[in-house]
């Protein structure tokens, strides 16, 4: 258990630093209450309505697809750094990795998830609107 005092010290120090900096800025900062300061930050535009709104759930799909390539790039960086020392093995390994991700890309492509407006939404279970 002897090694744990470092952890404890770290914990106490961490809390102390946060508390001290917060207190310092509290004491030093000039405070001018203006109306604009209480508006949520939104790229310089005055926000309209609530943040709790319904939005297209295709955003989730796009975000998920983005993660595939995000992770790919994440792994490509360390790979590129050690590429000189690893040589052929690293190359083959990364090609396999990319091939696996490409299968994912092919899947979403074939399923039409890369299009913002999905080609044919077959929602047979939903009642069709009149006139369709």
């Amino acid at each position: 258990m002897t090694g744990f005092y470092i952890v404890f010290l770290f914990l106490v120090l961490g809390m102390l630093i946060v508390a001290v900096t917060l207190l310092l800025s509290r004491l030093l900062q000039p405070r001018k209450r203006e109306k604009d300061k209480f508006i949520p930050y939104e790229c310089g535009i005055v926000p309209e309505g609530e943040a709790w709104i319904q939005f297209n759930n295709r955003f989730y799909v796009i975000a998920l697809i983005f993660i595939i390539f995000d992770v790919e790039v994440l792994f490509l960086f360390p790979w590129a750094v050690v590429f000189d020392t690893m040589g052929m093995v690293a190359f083959v390994e990364m090609m396999i990795f990319i091939a696996i991700l490409l299968v994912g890309l092919a899947y979403v492509w074939a399923k039409g998830d890369l299009n913002w407006v999905k080609p044919k939404p077959r929602l047979a279970h939903l009642a069709k609107k009149k006139g369709e």
Partner: protein, 487 residues
């Protein structure tokens, strides 16, 4: 062994991974009315993986990927078992899932996860393998997208899964903090070599048991079971109660043997840390089987009833975990195979009869013995086998479980186990009673397709055969665990 050399011992998993990717591509190219080909390809892939895994049986103990994974006959035994369970479940699903080809690919991914689960040797790999099985299971449980119960099942499964994995990971962090290792062998050495504080070790052990206990549906981590089993598609219910559970039990046994056991004897718990593992496991086993059986008594829905009975069967198997010797582990491994056949059999009857009966309620089975005698007789055999009545396979399995604990003088445990067997007789026999003693005035015969009947026979024959000739299987189980202890 380093990563590149390990690959040659990793063939079943490599083959499965490659075939998953290829099948995804093939599936995309298939026309909508030909999607069933994906199912055939999946069966083929698991079959090849099955044989590749089987070929590894006589390999000597090997530590792969810098100690992340170990290959031994214990792992191979469970790999073969889980691959077989996937094959059976694909056959069970085929009539109902003709268009949903992703379903089969997801099953293959679960199989890959289960292969990893039974051979892990590192805390990090345990989490990765369990999540691989878990996350895909959540999707499969909610596969009937437009069925509210299926959605509910999936959500409950996710929430319980996330919580229990979190608890387990927290337990792992304690273990790492105490020992400084993630490799299971190194952890064992550290526990034996240093005098650790008993309380943190005990807390870590309990947390890990919570995570693994959730996976095998052990009380008090069982609350997800009835809802998930009722809501999930029937083949998935059957699968969850056999495949991932077998993998979970294998992982549990491996964790106990490699971490908690004393390296010199391997059949006694480590003495220098007072974690009371046998007593804790005994209490959990008793609670699990009693609660499972008592709750099953009042169930109206047959899937829910089988869900609670699955909890009870985990209790029986945990009983043999308590004694912690070769005999106990052999009994569990044997029972898992027997349980696979009788449980899949019962679920197959439910799956194939539900369209004819129009309901999953037990009362819908009224007069089935006259409407389709073969199915009803088969169901009766599965029910009696689940109860543990001779001359069926379930009886032999139970005999070995009870023999293991009685040899070590756990008499109270054995008595409670037998009482539970008697309780379970009520609800299993009730199904038989409904099928044969209750009957309608007019008998509407059911015509069952050839495919259904053949699959029924294929599940029925092992249950009957293992009841009279079980020697080779028990030898196989014994050898597998023997090799394991030998190293």
């Amino acid at each position: 062994m380093n990563n590149l050399n390990s690959l040659q011992y990793f063939l079943p998993e490599l083959f499965l991974s490659a075939s998953i990717l290829i099948i995804i591509i093939v599936d995309l190219l298939l026309k909508k009315d030909k999607k069933i080909i994906t199912a055939y390809l999946s069966v083929l892939a698991v079959l090849v993986a099955f044989f590749l895994a089987y070929r590894q049986y006589n390999y000597a103990f090997t530590s792969l990927f810098e100690g992340m994974i170990v290959l031994d006959s214990f792992a191979v035994y469970f790999k073969v078992l889980t691959a077989l369970s996937t094959i059976i479940v694909i056959f069970i699903s085929m009539p109902a899932f003709r268009r949903h080809s992703e379903y089969y690919i997801l099953l293959l991914v679960v199989t890959l996860g289960m292969f990893l689960m039974v051979e892990v040797n590192d805390l990090l790999m345990i989490i990765i393998a369990m999540e691989m099985v878990g996350i895909i299971s959540y999707v499969l449980a909610g596969f009937n997208k437009f069925n509210m119960k299926s959605n509910e099942a999936s959500l409950k499964y996710v929430l319980y899964g996330a919580a229990s994995t979190g608890v387990m990971a927290f337990g792992f962090s304690y273990i790492y903090g105490l020992t400084g290792h993630t490799n299971l062998f190194a952890i064992q050495q550290a526990i034996v070599g240093h005098s650790l504080q008993p309380l943190p070790v005990f807390i870590a052990f309990v947390m890990v048991v919570a995570g693994l206990g959730y996976k095998i549906a052990m009380v008090p981590f069982h609350f997800w079971v009835p809802d998930v089993y009722e809501g999930a598609p029937t083949p998935i219910t059957a699968f969850l109660s056999v495949g991932p559970k077998a993998a979970g039990i294998a992982l549990f046994i491996r964790f106990l043997i490699t971490v908690v056991a004393h390296p010199a004897s391997q059949t006694t718990f480590i003495q220098n840390v007072q974690i009371q593992a046998p007593l804790l496991l005994a209490v959990l086993a008793v609670v699990t089987m009693t609660l499972g059986n008592v709750s099953a008594l009042g169930q109206k829905n047959i899937k829910r009833m089988l869900g609670y009975s699955a909890i009870a069967h985990v209790g029986y198997m945990m009983m043999a975990l308590v004694v912690f010797n070769t005999r106990g582990f052999t009994a569990i491994m044997f029972y898992m195979v027997v349980y696979m056949f009788m449980n899949f059999g019962a679920f197959w009857v439910v799956q194939s009869m539900t369209p004819h009966l129009g309901s999953e309620d037990i009362s819908a089975y009224k007069g089935l013995g006259y409407r389709h005698p073969l199915t009803a007789v088969a169901m009766a055999v599965f029910m009696l086998s689940l109860t543990g009545i001779p001359p069926f396979a379930g009886f032999i399995g139970k005999v070995y479980l009870f023999a293991a604990i009685i040899k070590q003088n756990w008499y109270t445990l054995a008595v409670i186990g037998v009482i539970n067997g008697v309780i379970s007789l009520y609800y299993y026999a009730y199904v038989i009673k409904v099928m044969f003693l209750d009957r309608d005035e007019e008998i509407k015969a059911i015509s069952v397709p050839l495919y259904d009947r053949v699959l029924l026979w294929l599940l029925l024959i092992p249950v009957l055969a293992l009841g009279v000739y079980w020697g080779p299987l028990i030898d196989l189980a014994h050898n597998s665990i023997g090799f394991f202890f030998g190293n």
